[in-house]
Symmetry: C2
Subunit: 340 residues, 2 copies
């Protein structure tokens, strides 16, 4: 089969890879219908994370079940499925508490690489959720979004306790931040403030429910947000970047007793204990337990209540994955969908 | 009047200070019935925090209302009151959300100094809670504990979401940690693990409801805790020290999706963003909003349901405050009560 492989920073190639096969009886093999490039894929692409030899890429995916192992009970070949970016058994104590991304048997799908024609998905019963039927083609981008970027934005909004009566602020106007806006609106937040300097992203944010845009960043952005919130800051802040500046902006934008939901993979971040202590905020985040939310998200997409697929503003054949990475790296695209 | 003043690290003197008077119409002046030395007083005493000129000391107190300002509505002279260590109006949006220690008009009582015969308490209506009647003498240590050390341990347990079905771990066997044990038990936790190496503190922890003692510290302590919890870690961890080691021990002792309630004033702490991200824990803490809990805590003490005053293992006249500090600094005492 064909699949994207990162050889070195900036060097993504689509090349022949071994066809995946069932290894464990709990595996499924899927034919990937759509995959995409994640903001987190840009960390190794940019050399911020080390690249250790040729690495298969991709952890977001929807597709058709091709084959299942002997112990798979809930799936059968031919079903259309959405999966999360960590395989999970969905039965252990951590999964049952809603933290499937930290399942005791968790397997990162990123090590498998779904920017490919086929993928082996471990722990298929606990990881994959079948759609009610074969989806219309126009639903596929939204279902694909559910597998990470929507699920991650949703988790951030839940972690930030977005809800009725809350003012929510969103740090980061990438795909995750934009879908954090969508999630906050769905969860009932009335006022949603987005930090953004890009007209196209501001438009999509507004479409997803943002009520205010702040173009200032860092402490200036915080000052502007405080003006908008009676000097107090937001009740709920979504952090969707993962840098020192964005984390501090999120913490400082939150009122005492408020909640920061952070999902940007924290690179080189050190949180100063004394400032955090006196901030009085709640801090929660990490790799989103997407599996917790998948059934609900699939239903919202299936009913056409939400349209998260709009974050894909570039669609390319898998063979052109390298251009998909470049476009995101150069900020010409918010998010690239790849069709195998 | 007489009051304790810190002149330099290690140099606490009881000396003549001006008698406090009503300054704002929302003030009360109280005659201090009992005060005490806080673990946080040891930071400047040890020179870890700078001492800027002679500083009145103390922020924990119970006493009798002597005089009230013209706008004080809920208190009258002669009442016995318990106060919190931040004055708060208890009416602003932040107070109503339960974060009185971050009230928009908050005044730190530490700047006033309650290790003294009298003290001016700002925002008296929002800060002080009167007891149902004059307390029996044996209740005074427990009521005094409510003003900070119990309120702080209680907040830590609430922030850690201690409750029925939860395994709670407590990092720090000082007075706050011990009262975190008491709080966790009152909140319904079944299993409570305390990290402690001191026999006397272990005994009090057991009396307050601890079920397990771990004598190892740091990563060894975490490993031992994981053995006790099926490899997962505790649901709820109380951090009551405030050092880099204790914060990391608390985070690492918490299972993914679990809660860390941290109340040790974080000195020199830097939390590594990447580790925090992948820990998947909830982090909440800061200066405890003691006022939120005071009515409930006073009732539990008044009914003799709880006996937090046992954490005072040294009682001295105010004039011997210096010895009270020394005893705590040298770990000869858990906590010193001072009688003016």
């Amino acid at each position: 089969m064909r699949g994207a492989v990162l050889h070195a920073p900036g060097d993504v190639r689509v090349e022949d890879r071994d066809d995946p096969v069932i290894v464990e009886p709990t595996d499924a093999v899927i034919r990937v219908a759509a995959a995409c490039v994640c903001g987190s894929d840009l960390w190794p692409y940019r050399g911020v994370e080390p690249v250790n030899g040729p690495a298969p890429m991709g952890h977001e995916y929807v597709g058709l079940v091709e084959e299942v192992g002997g112990e798979v009970r809930t799936l059968r070949p031919g079903q259309f499925v959405v999966g999360s970016f960590f395989a999970s058994d969905n039965t252990c104590e951590i999964c049952r508490a809603g933290y499937q991304s930290r399942c005791v048997r968790a397997v990162p799908i990123g090590a498998i690489g779904t920017q490919a024609q086929y993928a082996r998905i471990p722990l298929a019963d606990g990881t994959l959720v079948a759609t009610p039927a074969m989806p219309d083609a126009d639903l596929i981008p939204s279902l694909l979004a559910a597998s990470d970027v929507l699920g991650t934005g949703w988790f951030a909004a839940v972690a930030a306790e977005a809800g009725p009566g809350k003012t929510v602020a969103v740090v980061g106007d990438g795909a995750v931040g934009l879908l954090g806006v969508l999630a906050a609106r769905q969860l009932g937040a009335g006022r949603i403030v987005v930090f953004s300097r890009h007209a196209d992203r501001q438009r999509l944010a507004a479409e997803y429910g943002a009520t205010d845009i702040v173009t200032e960043r860092g402490d200036e952005g915080v000052a502007r947000l405080k003006e908008l919130t009676g000097g107090l800051g937001a009740h709920s802040v979504i952090e969707a970047v993962g840098t020192q500046e964005s984390m501090m902006q999120a913490i400082r934008a939150t009122r005492p007793g408020g909640h920061v939901g952070y999902v940007g993979v924290a690179h080189g971040v050190q949180l100063p204990g004394m400032e955090l202590f006196f901030s009085g905020v709640h801090l929660h985040g990490g790799p989103a337990p997407v599996r917790r939310f998948l059934p609900e998200l699939i239903e919202l997409i299936w009913n056409r209540t939400i349209d998260p697929g709009k974050v894909f503003d570039l669609t390319l054949p898998l063979e052109q994955a390298a251009e998909g990475y470049r476009a995101m790296d150069e900020r010409r695209a918010v998010k690239t969908l790849l069709t195998p």
